[in-house]
Amino acid sequence: MMTFRITLLSGLFTLSVLSAACSSAQTPPKAPPAPDAVVGMTNTLRFEPDTVRVPVGGTVEWRNTSLLVHTVTGDPARATLEGSARLPEGAEPFDSGNLEPEAVFRHTFTVPGVYGYFCIPHEGAKMKGVVIVSPKQ
C-alpha cells in the first residue's frame, strides 16, 4: 500500500511538471494493458508456473518475487546447456537482462509456437520455463 501511495504521489508530481512544461499534455499516460499471463521467479530457482499459454500477440509478464537476481532469456545463443532455450521458426530471441528483486519484465509473442527460456545465472540449477503461443483461431 505504501509503495502504491508513493508511486501515486510521485506520478502526480511528474504530471504537474509535464503539464506546466507542455500545455498539450492534458491526458495521463495509459496504463499498460493487463498481461495475458504472469510468471513468478522464486528463491527456489523456479519460474512459477513453469509453463504458460497465451494467444499470438499475447504478453507475458515475469515478476521477480525472490531475493535473487534472475534473467528471462529466450535466446539459444546464450544457452550453454542443451534444452535451456528454443524458439519457433521466425521468432526473435528475447532477454530481460539482470532483473533485481521486485523487477518486472514483459514480452509480447507475435509468432505462434513453443518457446523455451531460462535464467542465465541459474541455468546449471535447471531454472527454465516454457511459453506456448497459440495461433489465431
Binding site: T80, H122, K126
Partner: protein, 328 residues
C-alpha cells in the same frame, strides 16, 4: 553390486569403528578434548593419514617458493546486488566417484569433514554409500538471504606452498537476514602460505581443480575446477561488531556445482559452463604444530530454527562480475 554390505575388514578399516563418534566434529557438537583417550588416539591416526601430508611437509619451510609460471595473475570477482544462498547443516549424499564403495572406500583420511570422511560416518545400502550419518556444512538445504555483496581482489604470484608468499587477497562480503541484521566477513589478515593437510599454493591458486577426488579441501564438495581460490585468516562480523577473529576463510570461484532444486552436485552433474563463488568459514581452526585442524564452531551470530547458533558460514554468490589478467 547387489551384495549386502559387510563391515570392512582391512587394517585401516579396523580403525574406523573406534572413530565413529568423531563425526560429531562435522556438526560442531563435540571437541577432541571431550573424547576419550583411545578415541583421541584414533583421531590422531586418521589425521596423520591425510593424503597430502607428505607434500605439505616437503614445502612448508621453503623460504623462497617458486613463482607462478608465466607471471602473476590478478583476479577481481564482485557481486554488487541480489541475494545469496546460505547453506544449512545437512546430511550430504555420497558420490561413489569420490567415496568409493563399502568394500573399496576412498577419501577417508584427514580431519573428518574438512578433509576425508571415515566410513563409520557414512550410511550404506548393499555395496554403495548413500549419505552422511550426521549433518555437515555440505548438502542440499539452504536459505536465501538478501542484499549479498562481495568483492575479491586476489593476486596469484607464488606457485607452491612455502614459508613465505607473495600472493595477495583483499576480500569482503556481506548479506542480510529477514530481521535486517547484516553479516560480514573480511579477509585476509594473513594468508595460508602453506596448507595443513593439503596444499594452499601460497594462499591463492588460479586455474586448478579442487575438492572431491583431488583431496585438496573437503571431499564433501564435488570435484570442481576453480578459476581462483584462497585460504587465509580473517574475521566474522554481525552488524559491524567483530564476533569471531581470527577465523580460517576460504573462498573460490568455480564451475557451477548445484543442480535442480539447488542440490549439491555429484561429480558427473557439475555444469562446467556456468560459475559460482563459494565462501566457506569452517567450524575448524588450523593446528600448525600438528599440520592439522581442530574443531571450533564459528560464532556466526545467526540462530537456526532449533535455537542453535549456525556453527559455520557456507555462502554462495551467483550474480557475479569477473575480471582476470596477467600482471599485478
Amino acid at each position: 553390486m547387489n551384495r549386502s554390505h559387510r563391515p570392512p575388514t582391512s587394517h585401516t578399516s579396523r580403525v574406523f569403528p573406534a572413530v565413529a563418534a568423531l563425526i560429531l566434529l562435522l556438526s560442531g557438537l563435540a571437541s577432541s578434548s571431550a573424547l576419550g583417550q583411545p578415541m583421541a588416539k584414533q583421531l590422531q591416526k586418521l589425521k596423520a593419514l591425510a593424503p597430502a601430508r607428505g607434500y605439505v611437509i616437503a614445502h612448508k619451510d621453503v623460504k623462497n617458493p617458486p613463482k607462478l609460471f608465466g607471471g602473476p595473475i590478478s583476479v577481481t570477482v564482485t557481486q554488487s546486488s541480489g541475494g545469496v544462498f546460505v547453506a544449512l547443516p545437512d546430511r550430504r549424499r555420497l558420490d561413489t566417484y569420490v567415496f568409493g564403495t563399502p568394500s573399496m572406500p576412498r577419501a577417508f583420511a584427514g580431519t573428518p569433514g574438512i578433509n576425508g570422511v571415515p566410513p563409520p560416518a557414512r550410511e550404506a545400502e548393499d555395496d554403495h554409500y548413500t549419505r552422511m550419518k550426521k549433518p555437515s556444512p555440505f548438502g542440499d538445504k539452504y536459505l536465501v538471504m538478501a542484499d549479498g555483496r562481495m568483492e575479491l581482489h586476489a593476486v596469484d604470484a607464488t606457485a607452491v606452498d612455502g614459508a613465505t608468499t607473495e600472493d595477495q587477497v583483499r576480500f569482503k562480503a556481506s548479506w542480510k537476514d529477514k530481521q535486517g541484521n547484516t553479516y560480514e566477513v573480511r579477509c585476509c589478515g594473513m594468508l595460508a602460505s602453506h596448507g595443513m593437510e593439503f596444499p594452499t599454493f601460497g594462499g591463492v591458486v588460479t586455474n586448478h581443480i579442487l575438492h572431491g577426488v583431488t583431496r585438496l579441501g573437503t571431499a564433501l564438495m564435488p570435484t570442481e575446477f576453480a578459476y581462483v581460490a584462497f585460504w587465509g585468516m580473517g574475521e566474522v562480523r554481525k552488524n559491524g561488531k567483530v564476533l569471531d577473529k581470527p577465523r580460517l576463510i576460504h573462498g573460490m570461484l568455480t564451475e557451477y556445482v548445484r543442480g535442480e532444486g539447488y542440490k549439491l552436485a555429484f561429480d558427473d552433474e557439475v555444469t562446467p559452463t556456468r560459475m559460482q563463488f563459494h565462501l566457506m568459514i569452517p567450524p575448524f581452526m588450523p593446528d600448525p604444530p600438528n599440520l592439522s585442524f581442530t574443531e571450533k564452531p564459528v560464532k556466526t551470530g545467526f540462530t537456526l530454527p532449533n535455537g542453535m547458533e549456525l556453527p559455520f558460514w557456507h555462502v554462495m554468490f551467483e550474480n557475479l562480475e569477473t575480471k582476470a589478467e596477467r600482471g599485478q
